[in-house]
Each structure stands twice: as C-alpha cells, then as structure tokens.
C-alpha cells in the first residue's frame, strides 16, 4: 500500500514538472501542444547519455538541454515566424516521436544503473516538484517578472506599451517550458521507468497538457491534479490491490485515459466555467504582431 502511494507520488511529480513548464508557457500566451515530443526527446537523449556514460547528472542535463532547444524552436516558429502555435506544437510532437523512435531503438532495454536513492522513502524529485510548485506560484503571482509574464499572456499590446518586451518574455517562458518538459522526460526515463521502449512515454505529455487546462493555470491545482492522475495511473497498473479479479488488465489500462477525457469534458462545460470562473489567459494561442 505504501509502495502504491509512493509510486503514485512519483508519477505525479513527472506530470507536475511537465505541467508547470506548460503552465508558465500558457500564462505567457504560448500554447505548446508538443510537450509529448519534448518529453520523448528529454527521456530518450537523457537515457542514452546516462546509459553510455553511467552518469545520472549528465543524463538530466542532456534532458534539460534538449528541452530548452526544442522550447526555443517552438518559440522561433511561433513567436518570430508567426506560425500557428498548434501547427508548430504538433510538428514538435511528431518530430520528437519520429526521431526518438529511430535514435532510441539501439538502446532498447533497461538503463542498468543503481536506482537514485530515496530520501525518507520518497524520491528526491517529489520534494523538488513541491518546491517548484511553490516557486512557480510565487514567481507568477508575487514578483514583477510574474506580472510581466501574465501581462503578455493577457494583453500583449498593453504590456508592450508599458515597456515590457513581449518577445523576450515569451521566449523566456517557452524556453523554461521546454526545459521543464525535457527534465520531466529525463526523470521518467532515468527514475520512474528506466527501460527504453518504443513510444514508452504512453501519452504522458498529452495528459500533462490536459492537466494544465484542468488546473485553471494555478500551480497548486496542477499539483493536485497530478497527484490524482498519479493515483489513477498506479490503480490502472495494479487493479488487483483494490478490485481483485475485476476486468482484464488491459481494460484497467484504459482508465487513466478515459478519466482524462472525462475531466477535460467536465472543466470545458459551461456549468463548470461559470461556477469556478476558469481564467484562460486572454491571448493564449494568439501570435503578437507589433503594430
């Protein structure tokens, strides 16, 4: 039971890392639907780096680095070139999916390093995730930088007039988002599931994206949602713990995906929006053109 809860938290931390990056992105008005691709890249390259050198730190740095590069790429496409953000994000996802399938295949199999030790029974990344949640909340709502980020996501025109460089803030956010997604991928491949396999991320990037919508762009709610989905994921893997003999294991594996659709539908409904006042960043997905 304790293992179950710990594993759930460990799954939650990965959703949290990726989701926090996307949350900051979206707060700045940039939608990146390609975080699955960035996570796949971070996971695969981080895995290869760690496996070939035996150095965990290098693996994580590679994950963060490739994430930053892909975030920069998304920024270049969507901010500088003015490409539709969904098209660019889908491009990054398919790019990541296609390339990592090819690049990672020779490294199929387990990582073969000692597991990163736990602190008081819980992975150190869980603590890091909690710290990041508070940090992102603090920066976004209590600092001048956060105000700038939010303003370019709501009213970029007004922000620009008051002397905020929309382009610079958006680039910063999108690179931060990429780094977090790349890191989340690396944590997945180096800690949570250290066995490289074809498309082994199983849509976690898309689930994280859904969690950002669910969080109403609040980092605490994001964390709550991540824990909920971590529990669900573990339940889907170990249904016999609670419901022995009920339904095939393949049916259970569908549950988190069904729940994602259900939750997304619930928060998209008019009732929910008027009840809780989901505050979607006003300029989300819209490119900003200097007049």
């Amino acid at each position: 039971m304790l293992t179950f809860l710990i594993r759930s938290l460990e799954a939650a931390m990965i959703f949290t890392f990726a989701g926090l990056g996307e949350l900051v992105d979206q707060r700045a008005g940039i939608l990146n639907v390609g975080l699955e691709g960035i996570m796949l890249f971070g996971a695969t390259l981080g895995f290869i780096a760690a496996k070939t050198t035996g150095n965990y730190l290098l693996g994580f740095l590679v994950g963060i680095g490739i994430g930053a590069l892909l975030g920069l790429l998304h920024g270049f496409f969507s901010i500088t070139l003015g490409v539709d953000q969904v098209v660019s994000g889908m491009g990054i996802w398919i790019f990541g999916f296609g390339m990592t399938t090819y690049i990672g295949n020779p490294y199929t199999g387990p990582l073969g390093l000692d597991q990163i030790p736990a602190i008081f029974g819980v992975s150190p990344f869980v603590y890091l995730a909690v710290i990041m949640v508070v940090l992102v909340w603090f920066v976004l709502s209590k600092t001048g930088l956060g105000l700038k980020i939010r303003s370019v996501g709501e009213r970029p025109g007004v922000a620009a007039v008051s002397g905020v460089s929309v382009t610079r803030i958006r680039y910063m956010s999108v690179i931060f988002g990429g780094m977090m997604s790349g890191f989340a991928g690396a944590v997945y491949a180096l800690y949570y599931n250290p066995v490289w396999n074809y498309n082994f991320l199983m849509g976690w990037g898309f689930i994280s994206l859904a969690l950002v919508f669910f969080s109403m762009w609040n980092s605490y709610l994001l964390f709550g949602g991540a824990v909920l989905f971590g529990l669900l994921w573990q339940l889907a893997l170990n249904p016999q713990m609670f419901f022995p003999g009920l339904a095939s294991r393949y049916i259970w594996r569908m549950v988190p995906f069904m729940m994602t659709i259900l939750v997304l539908t619930l928060i998209s409904s008019k009732w929910f929006r008027s009840r809780w006042g989901a505050t979607k960043p006003e300029a989300l997905g819209l490119p900003y053109h200097k007049e």
Binding site: S88, Y102, I207, M258
Partner: protein, 375 residues
Amino acid sequence: MTLGGYQVRLQRRVALPGWKAALFSILAVIFGLVLFSIIFLQAGQDPLEIYKQIFSYAFFNSYGLHLTINRFIFLALASFAFIIPAQAGLWNIGMPGQLYLGALAAFGVVYFAGGKSGDLALSAPIIILLMLAASMLAGGAYGAIAGFLKGKWGVNEIVVTMMLNFIAFYLVAFMIKDGGPFMNLGGRGESFELPEAARAPMTGGFPITLWIVFILTILLQVLFSRMSLGYQIRAFGKSPLAARYAGIKPFVIAVLVFTLGGAIAGLAGYHYFAAVPGVYKIARTYGYFGDLSFYGIICGLISLGNPIAALFIALLFGGLSIGGRYAQGKLHLGFGVDYALMGMLMISLVAFQFFYNYQILITKKERALDVDVSD
C-alpha cells in the same frame, strides 16, 4: 533590416495564390529530404546514391512497388481522415484509434460469422461488404466521440483523440491477447487469421481498397468544391464565428467531420489488417502500423487539404517510407527509419509555414520619405 543598400522587409501576406502554396509545399518536402539525408551521412553513405536506391526499390522494383502501393493506400486514407476535420479547423490525431476500431469491427464480422475456427456462415461477397461497412461504422462512431465533445462543450479535440488512441490500443490488446475473443488459437498474442473468403479481393495485383481510395478522392473533391456542405465546412474552418452568424451549426459540423474522418480511418484499419497480402490478421505489432497513420497529418498539411494533392504526396511518402525500410536493412541502420523520415518532414513543413504567412520584400533603399514609426 538593410543589406548593402537593399532593404529587406517581412510583410504579412493577405492572400497566397494556389501555385505559390503548392511550390512552398514541394520545397518543404525537398527540404525535409535534405534533412533526412543527415541519417545517411551519419551512416557514412552518399545520400544521393541512397535516394536513388530508395526510389528505384520503391517505384521500379515489382516487389517494392507492391509494398509501396499498399502503404500508399493506407497513407491516403489516413490523410483523408485528417483532411476532413482539418478543413473545419479541427485536429484529428485519432487516426490510430479509429483504425484499430475499424479493424476490430471487420474482424468482429468474421468472428460472428464463425470464421475464427471453421467455415463462414455467409458467402464471400456479403462478408466482405459487411466487413467494409462495419469498419467504417466503428471508425466513424469512434471519431464521432471527439466531434461530439468538441461540438457540445468545446473540449480540446487534440487531447481527446490522443486519449482515444490509447484506449483503442488497449482494447485491441484485450481482444487479441491473454485469451481475448479474437486471439489466435496458437496463442501468439495476435488475432486469428482471416479465412480465404474473408480477405479483400485483388484486382490487377492490388487490393480493392485501391479503388476505394480513388472513389473517395473524387467524392472529397466534389464535396469540397461543388457541394454546399463542403463550403459550410470550409467556412467554419476559416472563421467559426462568422460561420455561426451565417447559420452554420458548429455542433453539426464538428460531429459530421469527425464521423466522416473516423469512418475513413476505419477503412485504413480494414486495409492494413484485412486487405494487405501476407498480413490478414491483427499482428502483435499493430501499434507500429497505427502510429504510421500520423503520416496522414503531414500529408494533409502539405497538401493544404486538397484531396488530389494528398494522393500524390501519400504516394511519395509511401514510397519513401518503404524505400527507407529497404535502405535500413541494406545499410544496417537502426529500426524506425520511416519514423525518422516522418519527423524530419514534419519539422521542415512547420518551418515552411512561415512562407505561407509572410513574404520577404527586397527593395532598393530609397531616401526615407515616409518615416517608419514602428522601428
């Protein structure tokens, strides 16, 4: 920006003539192929030589050509499944899920007709027609879920279709593995093999699904250029708000395009698992085939929603991916060269989107008569 007395400016395009759009699409493909050749360079090979081999295997070798055509049929159907919702401004990335459902439904027909173990209870033409109908119905119904949620509550269709992919993936696993109803009696984690009579008939060495692709191309062309419904779909895609004022119902459009797209994806599932010679079962590695349908996204985007253009691009990509597999075996490259190609083509396409939106103006620098305030 000024370069040697010439002023270089970016200007947003108001309209883009069709031939120019086509040109950019072709350039995007070429650029993608140039990017892809990095893989051959890395393997210490001359890319031009490899491309020559890829093309001659894919299009001028009888065995390779058959593989190419079969993959072309699959990619064309996947592209159409993407294009119809895309014309309405909606993203269908649920082709894998829809095609799994289509394949399951087709196999379900055979299963209920007793084809798993013994002789079929129905005659061959009826079985085949039922299989085709069932695959379209199942794929369409599965697609309609995303359309319904989008139309009714505006639920993000990208996330929903992706989640539906995974649900369908496990549904197939449930049906064909661990004693599932469609499991092969040998227990190899794959479905039972279709009996002779339930396999798609061949005409001229190619399965009938080839003709279905041609018929669908004409139908889609007529839908989008001649029919008021096609016009409504495109109007909704251009501006949902304006379309609403014109009396177009968003809910109806969303459900309709996803149902049509899903039905065609269902056919793609029928094609790959019930019509490709030498397959005729849902293989253990069905996930790889399902994910190949993401090529449809690239075909659909590059062809700018034009079904005839999509046909040619699907043929090119079909050949390239088959030839890529051949080169992979010959050069001892890693698995998944065709996926790498997919990634390269996609990122090149996104980069070229820029040219659809902007044009680069190069003018000789004049004395500044009108002062540009923004700089």
